[in-house]
């Protein structure tokens, strides 16, 4: 039974040694370790969280840039399409305009030519008239005595001049 009876002397030494251990370790031992490990844990957790948010941000950026690229591509296609359309209409309208222009010019040229011809006809006619007057004068002066021959001549000239006129 002596094992079950606590010895005062040993209890005294026990209290001394345990207090010694407690005082030293509670001040310089365990709190230091626990605090630093807790701090490290917190910093690791924070780094992980930061990395996660950065990842999310990056993913967002990527999605955004993807959408921007795809929309730009869409735009590009649309613009190209529009340009195609415009090109076609421009060409068409140019062709049309060119056609109109040429036909108008041809028309004008024709009108001009008509005018020129008429003018030249008039000129020729007046010239012919003058010539015939001259001829008539000469004939009159030279052949006034030969009346029948005179008349034939005049007729012949007149016929000729009318031929020329037509």
């Amino acid at each position: 039974m002596s094992l079950l009876i606590p010895d005062a002397g040993l209890l005294f030494w026990m209290v001394i040694s345990f207090s010694l251990v407690f005082l030293i370790l509670a001040k310089y031992g365990f709190p230091v370790i626990v605090n630093i490990v807790e701090e490290r844990r917190a910093s690791i957790q924070k780094s992980l969280d930061d990395a996660r948010t950065a990842n999310d941000l990056l993913a967002n950026f990527k999605a955004e840039s993807d959408s921007i690229i795809s929309s730009a591509r869409e735009e590009h296609k649309k613009i190209l399409h529009e340009a195609d359309l415009i090109k076609e209409t421009i060409i068409n309208s140019a062709i049309k305009e060119a056609k109109e222009l040429t036909s108008r010019q041809i028309e004008e040229a024709r009108k001009e030519m008509e005018k020129e011809r008429n003018a030249s006809l008039l000129k020729i006619r007046s010239q012919i008239a003058m010539l015939s007057v001259d001829v008539a004068e000469k004939i009159v002066r030279a052949e006034l005595n030969n009346t029948p021959a005179q008349m034939d001549l005049i007729n012949r000239f007149l016929e000729e001049s009318s031929e020329i006129r037509s």
């Binding site: 002596s2 209890l11 251990v21 626990v34």
Partner: protein, 350 residues
């Protein structure tokens, strides 16, 4: 491999034959086991033939008549008397230092001797302090690095106790108690492990001594009751039960106050009994070798082999127990502290 086994077996036989001639006398197993379990004034290391190798330790006694006396335990060896002091052989103060007064009666003085267990406690404390301070120094030097090797192992150990026992059992203000509980855990664990090591600085049955566990239980008792909340004391002295259980006979308060003391008492007995029993079993198994000498070489060598195998097994079990008992003591202390931190219950409305 086969040759090695052969050599080992023949060596075993040789030892047994050699011993059987030396140890002819009757062996008192009970005495051997008890003398190892008990505290002693000197630290007996080994017996070589007839010479005892014992480290003498200071005996410090205060007596009413002669005052303070300090002398080495070797002065009292083999029944010698120093001044009026000797080691008692009587049943009342068996194996304790007593003073013989003028009437010739044995009187127990106030005995603060640095006994084997006391010295072992101090040595183990120094070992523990050195280990923990070494680890703490590493952290002060490199606060952001992850430790490796021994420091890393200690970190896992310390943080496991801190997180899984202390934090989960006490709750929000665990930080106030964690230094005490960590100290208690590692103090018990170091002493348990050192108790298993059979060589000199170890081998003392410190945590298997009731005075040591009493000291620890006392600390937990103080930690629980000094910092107990108002609600905790109210639950003990005026619990929330029908009035007739409190007045006129304070039935429940009495039970609660009784429970106040049974909790640390259970802590004390549990640690003491577990470690003491483990030591007793190992000692008993070892004694098996010497007891069976008388039964002849064949039985003796067989039992020796069995004893060694069982002792190895028991030592492994004891390593486990060393951890488990430290764990249980710390956990229960944490639970008791957690119970003493109760907050006022929220009034439930139906």
């Amino acid at each position: 491999m086969k040759r090695k086994i052969k050599i080992l077996v023949s060596l075993l036989f040789l030892m047994v034959y050699g011993r059987s001639t030396i140890l002819a006398e009757e062996i008192d197993v009970k005495q051997i086991v008890f003398s190892h379990l008990r505290d002693s004034y000197g630290w007996h290391i080994a017996t070589w033939g007839d010479t005892h190798v014992t480290v003498p330790l200071p005996v410090i006694v205060f007596s009413k008549t002669t005052g303070l006396n300090i002398f080495l335990s070797s002065e009292l060896e083999n029944g010698k008397t120093y001044k009026y002091f000797r080691i008692s052989r009587e049943e009342r103060h068996l194996d304790k230092v007593v003073e013989i007064n003028s009437a010739g009666n044995e009187v127990r003085p106030i005995d603060l001797s640095l006994t084997k267990n006391a010295l072992a406690l101090l040595l183990n404390s120094i070992i523990l302090i050195l280990i923990i301070l070494h680890v703490a120094k590493w952290y002060k030097k490199k606060p952001v690095d992850a430790p490796r090797g021994f420091t890393g192992a200690m970190e896992i150990f310390i943080m496991d106790i801190n997180d899984n026992i202390i934090k989960s059992c006490i709750g929000k203000d665990y930080l106030k108690y964690s230094p005490y509980l960590l100290t208690a855990f590692f103090f018990i664990f170091t002493n348990n492990i050192m108790g298993i090591i059979p060589l000199f600085p170890g081998g003392a049955n410190t945590t298997g001594n009731i005075a040591v566990t009493m000291g620890l239980a006392l600390c937990t008792f103080l930690a629980v009751n000094i910092f107990g909340t108002k609600e905790y004391w109210k639950e003990i002295l005026w619990p929330d039960v029908p009035l007739w259980m409190k007045v006129p006979l304070p039935l429940l308060p009495v039970i609660e106050i009784f429970a106040l003391f049974t909790k640390p008492f259970a802590l004390m007995i549990r640690l003491f009994a577990n470690i003491m029993a483990g030591h007793a079993i190992i000692l008993g198994l070892t004694s098996l070798i010497f007891v069976t000498v008388a039964m002849g070489p064949a039985v003796n060598s067989g039992m020796t082999l069995l004893s060694v195998i069982l002792s190895v097994f028991m030592i492994f079990v004891e390593i486990l127990v060393a951890y488990i008992q430290a764990y249980v003591f710390t956990m229960l202390s944490a639970v008791f502290i957690g119970l003493s931190r109760v907050e006022k219950h929220k009034q439930e409305v139906y």
